[in-house]
Amino acid sequence: MRITRFWAAILLGIPLIYLVVFFVTPLCMVLADSFSNKAGELTFENYATVLGDIYYWEVLGYTLWLALVTCVATLLLGYPLAYYLTLVERRAFVKRLCFILILMPLFTSSIVRSFGWLVLLGREGLINDGLLMLGIIGRPLRLLSTQTAIIVGMIYVMLPFMVLAIASVLQNLNPSLREAARDLGASAFSTFLRVTLPLSVPGIVAGTLIVFTLSISSYVTPRIMSGGRSVVSSMLIYDQFLLVFNPFLGSAIAVVLLVTCFVLIIAYTLILERKPVRS
């Protein structure tokens, strides 16, 4: 049933006004602030600071590196789980249990999840105790506030998004394509490589995109897991707004982060479009 423009305007009007006031305008204000200073003058000094200081480049580089590592690791861990969940496991109650195990962390605040890792990675945490007991290490490792801790924390927080994105594509694949490949004599592995994997590319793309954008802006996990030792862009934004009270510089950092993120996403989708995957 089509609706007339009149009704569309009525239904969309208020939600649209809301988004303009509390979403579009705030973004424009952040953009405007990034070109402003305390005196309210138009200036490029914030960008001169952000782009002229090697420190900000290092932080941005580290933020992107962390997001990339998280993307790759969640893909490598998430794909087998998504495959198992959708194409291997047939028992309904096991599937349901898997979904519960995937959704529980997704529905828990990143702060609570990071807290769990603080306990696991502590000097006398489960990981150190386990490694000691197995005789792999002689004395407890320092795991907290290390790169390992940050990466493990990030992978942990992002993994459910990757699994769900890939699973939703695998679930809707036509099973007869796999059966045809098997009937024609392909092994399970080559069926996967030549049929399932190429067809699941949209899920991989969706998963990596969401994990990348969420990683690049995550604040809680890097802060808790690094103990303040490693700095990502979102921490700089937080500090400028809430500790240093320089929203102008903070806005410039936010805009640089946002633009970088968009450029990378556009480049990523363009590369994928140039090599179309037959489906």
Binding site: R2, I3, W7, A8, L11, P15, L16, Y18, L19, F22, F23, V24, P26, L27, M29, V30, L77, P80, L81, V88, E89, R96, C98, F99, L101, I102, L103, M104, P105, F107, S109, I111, V112, R113, F115, G116, V119, L120, G122, G125, L126, L159, S168, F189, I210, T213, S217, Y219, V220, R223, I224, S234, I237, Y238, F241, L242, P247, G250, L258, C261
Partner: protein, 272 residues
Amino acid sequence: MGGLFEKLGDRAGILALSLLAWAVLVFLILPLFVVIAISFTTTEFLAFPPVGFTLRWYQRFLADPSYVDSILLSARLAFGSTLIGFLLGVPAALALKRSTMPGINFLASLFLSPLILPAIIIGVGVLQITTALDFPRSFAAMLAGHVVIILPYIVRTTLASLEGFDASLEEAARDLGASGLVTFLHVTLPTIKPGIIAGCLFGLIMSWIDVEVSIFNTVIATSPIPVKVFNYVQYSVDPMIAAVSAGTIYIAFIFVFLLDRLVGLEKVTGRK
């Protein structure tokens, strides 16, 4: 013979895959399990495995009005923002799906764009606009921000449920003399209800676990529970904060249960 080896190879492959998948599932649940376990320890410090069993830490946090207030604040925020999100998102999704207005695709991506925008930038932006409108760092400011982050979830699931909708059902109702409103209430709404419920559950949970938007728009004295835990954990960790954290995990479980009962867990990965 070749076939036999191949079959064995396939089985070994499936077994390896299943083991890997379960290792990942254990990885996913382990930290939550640990938090719950240590919340029962009788020691004054975090101990895993926990020593003994006590509910003392739960009693302590429930006796602390500041934690109870935080939880109530979070609950009010979650329900308030989801209600507003529902009232804005469902009509918007209907119009986005059904209208042929020029620019409707652009509007659809506008409604979904808060999903891909860094939450921290939305948090900062909401701080700026609410400062300009003279209600910074308040319940209303957080509410405004939470609606922005949960609206796309409600719009998206409602759109998805309209996607598979059989338009001839509505035509039949209209042909039989039902008015537009009656058709909507008795034909359209029941069909898209699972999508709306799923969207609202996601909205509730996204508001309940949010730190990034709240942290810019709250005052330390009265902050939602994730922000309160965050501020605490940065400086010290003890079994009481484990009990508070475990409490939020129990609530996550209730949400998973509701999602299963009302929508079905498999639907989470169903249609986009």
